[in-house]
Symmetry: C2
Subunit: 434 residues, 2 copies
């Protein structure tokens, strides 16, 4: 008992989490008992046998699971808020591809990726699924920096060997070989930072490349991320490139990269009912990116419909299609666009209600956290990822319930109120790389 | 010359404004010459005859017109981010009306309104059109505080004598008399803070009250603010209350409160073509409130269509239907919802394009500023309302144009980058009322 107790800690504060979709569990000034990195239990008062546990006292503060961002292009971070009036193609050509091409320079990558990691820390994003660039060296630098910060992420070296600009495209064989090297070097290197297979999306990847990548996914048993059904033009393009497949999702599926290992797909706006069933069957995650889908005029993903069909869903900033790396801001936008879909689209609203705050809270924590395992909740045996929020400066002249206070933080708070961040039981200090 | 020159000042920096809708005028490290409170001219280099002018050096910073908020319920400020999952009626009953009713207590009003004025200052909102409550004393306190801060506003004592909760409703005669007292006491009291007639909206105001208010508007020659066509249920309600009128707008018009004096109407989502023509003819301003219209599931106002018809449009936070008092955030939301309307509504998108950043910049400055006269631009004889923005911490590893920097500030900046605020030529320090 003494040995075990020595690594136990109890965090005291107003605890909020969502074991079930859309339903807060709230313990006012209760205790989260953490055994090294895992939650042992949540208590209103400390049980007798735990009464000697060291208490970290955050009385009056809010304690919530850390935010999870399922889709974020790390090299595009410097482009946030730029080119937003452009159509998708000029935007890619003017801002995205030229920027990503710069990461062949590892010095540049180091400088730029320090900013990314700092921002993840600042915004309380404790877990992220990141796109890098086609460059394995730069991508390894990103992983190193995240590891040093103590945050957790899946990080992918991007693959693209067709329909890409001359200055930013790979030879198929090099793409596969570089990916294999990248996986070999990083698969066991870190505790909380892991590689992920990252074909950019179907139009930029030949069948040979996709075959090679799916073999690597199986061989190394690593997850997969990509884009799916972001806008109507893209869906049409894929159907022309792959007339043999019955849908966009089927193309990934035929290449055995649609749930054979854990898979997350960004966007998922224009899916057929068959595709949705396939996603549910294969447990393919949706990275819902409402800021990006608004900025790039993509549309509004039918999140309630996807959830009802049993598809796992998390939230994502989609930097820099999305401009805002704050997952709280993404939560607000997710609610807002679901309401606009409801009011502007009578056919949809007849069947599907808009999203509530506790629902997007779930998506931002446990919904996306599932991609990492037992993450995003304070249930027993979940990794203790947490944010301690001091919302004093948001307070008004009235007493508010804990539920009201968390909603208020999500809607009007920002990074200034995040007092502390924890990942897997460890307190994460501000990254200072220099 | 010497006497005149003694009140001249030149502000040096990267100057951005929009004399025309949707078109930036940018002068890199140029000079805005201000004569007391009015802009005398903008220059790339100071002309010979002005070379002795005192230069306030903001080289490298961005200088933009102060932001204008055309619709903001001051007493609801403390409710920001609360009750957002509720339908409109429960929200009004649970949060809005009980809160507004508290302002009968002038001590409470004083405390709460200090927070409002501080927030306007913080967010760079140099001019605002505010709803108060039905209480003339509390509303006068709000005006006093704004005057002390140096900011500028129209402030209205709200009128409502029907279809309102028992605890928050006026007797018709008292409502009119209180309003007359309020106007008498405030009409000439301040330089930059003025009263405005404020019937809450048609459903809460009897014909007798509306007649009384329109007489006061004419007698005191003061502007009018109210709500118009926020959601479909409300439009239907008004048509049942006023079967004699051909439209919601016509009801206001028949009561001579639709442009007889300067008039601003919040929302304006579901207007007929006839109503839009009437607004244009009567020069009735639209306070476009995209955050509120998303949060309250109201819909997406057809801003491009309104503008094309010649209706003047500005932006508004609509606190607390909208949760965010930052007009920059409202600009982003205005662009985003215009894009969603475009992509989700093929009938509309066939005729009307979405909004661009320089277009919402215009709406946030000169568009709304017109309601105050020569406000919201740096053209000659405009009041010098300005924000000095230091965007250093938003900078990335690349050189960016001034146009890119202002877009980036709007999308990813916040109050932390606003270095200074000016209203009518005067620098406004942080309000400290205690």
């Amino acid at each position: 008992m003494i040995v075990i107790n020595s690594i136990l800690k109890a965090y005291k504060g107003n605890i909020i989490f969502t074991p079930e979709f859309g339903k807060y569990e709230i313990v006012e000034n209760g205790y989260i008992v953490v055994n090294d990195r895992l939650v042992q239990g949540v208590y209103k008062t400390l049980p007798e046998e735990l009464k000697d546990t060291v208490v970290v006292d955050y009385t009056g503060k809010l304690i919530v699971p850390g935010f999870v961002d399922l889709h974020f292009h790390a090299p595009q971070f410097v482009n946030r808020g730029l080119g937003i009036d452009m159509e998708l193609l000029p935007w890619l050509e003017t801002y995205t591809f030229p920027e990503e091409a710069k990461y062949i320079d590892t010095e540049y990558a180091l400088k730029a990726y320090k900013k990314v990691v700092h921002e993840l820390w600042k915004q309380g994003t404790t877990r992220a699924v990141l796109f890098g660039t086609i460059h394995k060296e730069a991508t390894k630098i990103l992983m190193d920096l995240i590891d040093k910060s103590g945050l957790s992420a899946y990080v992918g070296k991007v693959n693209m060997d067709r329909n890409s600009p001359e200055f930013y495209i790979e030879n198929t064989e090099d793409s596969i070989n570089d990916t294999e090297d990248f996986l070999t070097e990083t698969i066991n290197k870190y505790d909380l930072v892991k590689p992920i297979i990252t074909p950019r999306f179907i139009p930029t990847c030949t069948g040979v490349l996709m075959d090679g990548l799916s073999e690597l996914a199986s061989k190394f048993n690593v997850p997969v991320q990509s884009h799916l059904s972001e806008n109507r033009g893209e869906v049409e393009w894929v159907s022309k490139l792959h007339p043999e497949a019955s849908s966009y999702s089927e193309v990934y599926n035929q290449f055995r990269m649609f749930g054979k290992t854990p898979t997350v797909m960004a966007h998922c706006i224009y899916l057929s009912d068959e595709e949705i069933k396939l996603m549910a069957r294969n447990n393919v995650f949706v990275a819902h990116s409402p800021h990006s889908n608004s900025n790039l005029i993509s549309g509004i993903a039918p999140i309630r419909k996807l959830l009802k069909a049993g598809v796992p869903v998390g939230l994502s900033s989609d930097i820099s299609g999305g401009h805002n790396a704050s997952i709280a801001s993404v939560m607000v936008q997710a609610v807002q666009v679901s309401k606009l879909k409801w009011v502007e689209n009578p056919e949809y609203s007849e069947f599907e209600d808009f999203l509530s705050t506790p629902e997007v809270f779930y998506l931002a924590t446990k919904g996306g956290g599932k991609f990492f395992g037992n993450v995003g909740s304070f249930e027993k045996d979940y990794e203790f990822d947490a944010l301690v929020i001091d919302d004093t400066e948001l307070s008004d002249l009235n007493e508010r319930s804990i539920e009201e206070r968390i909603q208020r933080y999500i809607y009007i708070g920002d990074d200034r109120q995040i007092l502390h961040r924890y990942v897997a039981g460890r307190k994460i200090e501000e990254p200072k790389f220099d």
